[in-house]
């Protein structure tokens, strides 16, 4: 299990290329990349605040839960904080498993939990000012799937 919470940009292609290589027990690799999206037009940047210390622990806990539920070979989560431009990768989840069903399900589970159980807060910067992104009921409802 590999957790990285970082200010620096990362290269999703390089992450995927270096993930779970040289293993004979892996039959499936799934990756998800979250990207800064301009929802309403006019987004200048996304600022992400986090809770150093708790963030890494919370992500590790969510990853441990995934590892308990599914037969997984490797997991990696990368999540950025700080100021990000439109189109930049915010975060990435990679799962490797013997079979694809577990790799897909674990990636989906990790995304749902990272959205509302890892201590990150997004703020959208536009010409009109800065607005905190509100959590939605759908984020919370998504957790009941699991």
């Amino acid at each position: 299990m590999d957790v990285r919470v970082q200010d620096a940009a990362f290269d999703p292609g390089a992450e995927l290329a270096s993930f779970a290589i040289g293993r004979s027990d892996v039959g499936a690799v799934v990756s998800f990349t979250g990207v800064v999206r301009d929802r309403d037009g006019g987004l200048q940047a996304m600022e992400i605040e986090h809770y150093p210390g708790m963030t890494e622990k919370a992500i590790a806990t969510i990853m441990a839960q995934a590892a308990e539920r599914w037969s997984l070979a490797e997991l990696r989560v990368i999540h950025r904080y700080g100021r990000l431009g439109v189109g930049q990768p915010i975060m990435m989840v990679l799962t490797a498993a013997p079979h694809r069903a577990a790799a897909f399900a674990a990636a989906d589970f990790l995304m749902d939990y990272l959205k509302s159980r890892a201590p990150f807060w997004k703020r959208e910067i536009t010409a009109d000012g800065a607005d905190w992104v509100a959590a939605t009921d759908a984020d919370e409802t998504a957790l009941t799937r699991w």
Binding site: Y51, A58, A118, P119, A135
Partner: protein
């Protein structure tokens, strides 16, 4: 104990962390103490349903006891991913 604030809670209170000496038995009792302090605290803690709390970096409930807790953090619902 160390009290930390994040996102708009930090902005409303006007600081990211502070040291508070309190005998409050629960999170809610501490919230009541803070609300009574100054308007900026009352504003930040006006609606508890809009807040989350972590005790020593683990999510907790507002009725959780504070005995032995060294770090408490208040923040809005998280928006990661």
């Amino acid at each position: 104990m160390n009290v930390l604030y994040f996102a708009w809670v930090r902005e409303r209170i006007g600081l990211p962390r502070e040291r508070i000496d309190s005998q409050a038995a629960t999170v809610m009792a501490l919230v009541e103490e803070l609300r009574a302090r100054e308007d900026r605290y009352a504003a930040a803690f006006a609606d508890i349903s809009a807040l989350r709390v972590a005790l020593d970096q683990e999510l907790a409930d507002f009725d959780a006891p504070l005995a032995g807790v060294r770090e408490i953090a208040f923040f809005p619902p998280m928006t990661g991913g």
